[in-house]
């Protein structure tokens, strides 16, 4: 039995639940028999991958769903061996080059050339190009992105590239100008509610409307998350209890408690305690930028007006350093310490004003 997320994933462009105009556009694009390189971007859980797979299916028929996993080996100029797993069908190959870290350039250079230099055998029945799907393009190094540039033009005849990323900010302009950008916005609360109701109906369950809205709001406009949460609720208790709180992940609660601790007391001793908690979050593989955002959200609720602006500026500052630096704990801790200092000063000024 598969998860609802996979079970009810639409498989053709005409079956998509939202962004119907866009689906129609994509369909027309595919009908033309040819299309440019695509750059699909949008927040996670908005359905980027679903749209890509639908487009591929529209293009090649059911054959694209016969997937196989392969391990390819590449050798860097310094004779280091890299292994990367690719998912491919007869018509396309999907790879996440950022898996190999800063050596992603080699993968891009080799892989795309390998794919692109081979013509389709029987071009009368098939399209005369293959498709390379690259995911998480925004995590590619600049070198790798530069390597893509000319390749994209040179092998246009035999291969199309579909790039998939969360934000185009980190994609160099040279690549952006070679692709047709497709923005996949996150579904609205109403759209998520609709999908949830539909899925539950297909499962033969009754989902109260309030419950669906509640899940949709909790999901932060992330459809995948909403469906997973809905399924989790179903496992916990059925029939659904509308009054029951939707269970959140443990780490979110943990993070909130941490934030409360920071706001309660500002002292070196407390800082040490917070540090231990941050460490624990990090060892459970919670990404540091998520921790930072979570902390900020909670901490801001105790600040007012001008103080908020200051805290936000600092959060942005330390998060930037975090991306550049090596060890994230330093920067998280620096932010906490900074916040404590700002907050304490604010409180003391408040008390001084009273007298």
């Amino acid at each position: 039995m598969s998860l609802w997320v996979d079970k009810y994933r639409p498989t053709s462009l005409s079956k998509l639940d939202y962004h119907k105009d866009q689906a129609a556009h994509l369909k027309r694009l595919v009908e033309g028999g040819d299309f440019p390189h695509l750059l699909v971007y949008g927040p996670s859980g908005a359905g980027k991958k679903t749209r890509i797979m639908c487009t591929l299916r529209e293009l090649y028929g059911a054959g694209v769903e016969k997937l196989r996993i392969e391990h390819s080996q590449f050798t860097t100029p310094s004779n280091k061996k890299l292994e990367i797993s690719t998912i491919s069908s007869n018509y396309h190959i999907e790879v996440n080059p950022s898996d190999v870290g800063h050596n992603d350039r080699v993968v891009i250079q080799e892989l795309i050339k390998n794919v692109a230099q081979v013509n389709q055998l029987d071009s009368t029945q098939q399209k005369n190009f293959k498709i390379v799907v690259l995911t998480e393009v925004d995590r590619l190094t600049k070198d790798a992105q530069h390597a893509l540039r000319r390749t994209m033009e040179k092998y246009m005849a035999t291969c199309r590239i579909i790039l998939c990323c969360n934000s185009t900010s980190k994609v160099i302009p040279a690549i952006r100008s070679r692709c047709l950008g497709i923005r996949v916005a996150a579904p609205t609360i109403a759209e998520i509610t609709q999908v949830l109701t539909m899925v539950c109906k297909k499962e033969g369950l009754t989902l109260p409307n309030e419950m669906a809205v509640k899940i949709a709001e909790k999901s932060g406009r992330n459809l995948r998350r909403a469906l997973l949460m809905c399924e989790a609720c179903r496992v916990q208790q059925y029939p659904f209890n509308v009054d029951k709180e939707i269970s959140e992940p443990d780490w979110e609660i943990f993070l909130r408690e941490t934030a409360t601790m920071i706001a309660q007391q500002q002292s070196p001793k407390r800082l040490l305690e917070v540090r231990a908690r941050l460490y624990e979050l990090l060892t459970h593989c919670i990404p540091p930028d998520v921790i930072m955002k979570g902390l900020l959200k909670e901490l801001l609720s105790v600040c007012d007006g001008q103080l908020k602006a200051e805290v936000v500026q600092n959060a942005a500052y330390y998060e930037h350093r975090l991306q550049q630096g090596q060890k994230s704990i330093y920067h998280l801790e620096a932010f906490v310490a900074k916040f404590m200092a700002i907050y304490k000063r604010f409180l003391e000024e408040g008390i001084a004003d009273l007298f």
């Binding site: 027309r28 440019p36 927040p43 070198d143 000319r150 185009t168 996150a186 998060e319 930037h320 991306q323």
Partner: protein
């Protein structure tokens, strides 16, 4: 009588066979004599239907004269086509201004299709270009001598060209390895370096090259080219839509053509391309949305701002795009004094840098908008 008839019959057959042969074999040579913007599509025939070529390739300039707007470079290259010598070249300028197209067209004209393969070495960022490659591959290629005639007897310049495309992504070491090679092999080899930022090329290299800056294409030239393409392809498009293409392209010809083609694909054969469609494709944020954002900043409510920024992220707009368009807006905004504007713009610069370094979009946008908010509501 019968003889005559036979000849009569044979003649057309031979003629058509000849034509077919020409079509199949010498597709590359048709690239050389140009004027017609439709390139050698005949060679890539498939089921009697020509393979669809992207317009950016289809309308790539085929001769040096075709290149629009870059007069200085053209003048120099034309001279060398007429037989005088060519210096080492360094082309730089924003993307989509025709740098690669120019040198490709020039070398094709110089050497003709047969010699092109032997005389031109094109290396771009997709090729391995470490110091070893410069030392071995480039050096080896550079050391070969070149004759002064083509196989068909026509004269051609006695040197080879090495094109180093996207040279700004070459390492410093590789660039310095190039220095001596460039000088020593100047008898037989010309280098052409192409890059976006001349500042990334080390000084010793730039001083060995004739530098040419490729200007951003001017409005009228870009628009007239677009109109030419539209006519060639038979697309219905009104002036406001063409104007929109120009505005979204930032003087980048490739981007403009790309947008145009995508739009024409999306709206099918008979639909007309509209302004909204162009904006939609190019990922530009609508004016209303931006105005709403700025109004949110006026509200002095942090919560509303938070919701608005979350919305940007959820809608999938890129932070860099927001930054670009917001910048134009802020500059022309009347409600801020010059000093306030400068504070905001400074913050924008910082945010842009942080975004390039890979910082989180939400936090950076929050920081920017809270700066704008405090400037608007509290005057700094």
């Amino acid at each position: 009588m019968s003889m005559q008839l036979l000849v009569y019959v044979i003649q057309p057959v031979r003629a058509s066979a000849m034509q077919a042969f020409l079509k199949g074999g010498s597709a590359a040579s048709s690239k050389n004599k140009t004027d017609s913007p439709v390139p050698s599509s005949s060679s890539k025939k498939k089921d009697g239907k020509a393979r669809i070529i992207p317009w950016i390739e289809k309308y790539r300039p085929k001769t040096v004269e075709d290149v629009a707007f870059q007069d200085e470079v053209i003048a120099v290259l034309k001279k060398s086509l007429e037989g005088s010598d060519l210096p080492n070249l360094l082309f730089y300028g924003p993307p989509g201004t025709g740098k690669t197209s120019t040198i490709l067209a020039a070398s094709r004209q110089l050497f003709g299709p047969e010699l092109y393969k032997d005389r031109v070495l094109e290396l771009n960022a997709s090729d391995e270009r470490g110091i070893n490659v410069i030392r071995e591959k480039v050096k080896k290629f550079a050391q070969l001598t070149a004759g002064g005639t083509r196989p068909d007897g026509k004269p051609c310049p006695p040197f080879k060209i090495i094109i180093l495309d996207e040279a700004d992504s070459m390492t410093k070491d590789a660039q310095s390895a190039l220095r001596r090679t460039m000088e020593r092999e100047s008898k037989t080899t010309r280098f052409c370096l192409i890059c976006n930022y001349v500042s990334r090329i080390i000084e010793p290299i730039t001083s060995r090259c004739a530098k040419f800056r490729f200007k951003m294409l001017a409005e009228d030239i870009l628009i007239s080219r677009l109109q030419m393409i539209c006519k060639e392809e038979g697309i219905a498009i009104d002036d406001s839509a063409i104007d929109a293409v120009f505005k979204t392209s930032d003087g980048d010809m490739r981007k403009a053509i790309m947008t145009l083609q995508s739009a024409s694909r999306l709206c099918g054969k008979d639909g007309a391309i509209t302004k909204d469609m162009i904006f939609d494709i190019s990922g530009v944020i609508s004016e209303d949305y931006l105005d709403k954002l700025i109004n949110k900043c006026r509200s002095d409510s942090y919560e509303e701002l938070d919701v608005a920024v979350q919305d940007i992220i959820h809608e999938g707009y890129a932070a860099s795009q927001v930054l670009n368009q917001l910048h134009d807006k802020i500059i022309t905004l009347d409600s801020l004094s010059d000093k306030q504007k400068s504070v905001v713009c400074e913050k924008m610069g910082e945010v842009d840098k942080c975004l390039m370094d890979g910082a989180d979009e939400y936090l950076q946008l929050m920081a920017l908008f809270s700066t704008i908010m405090s400037q608007m509501c509290h005057g700094g």
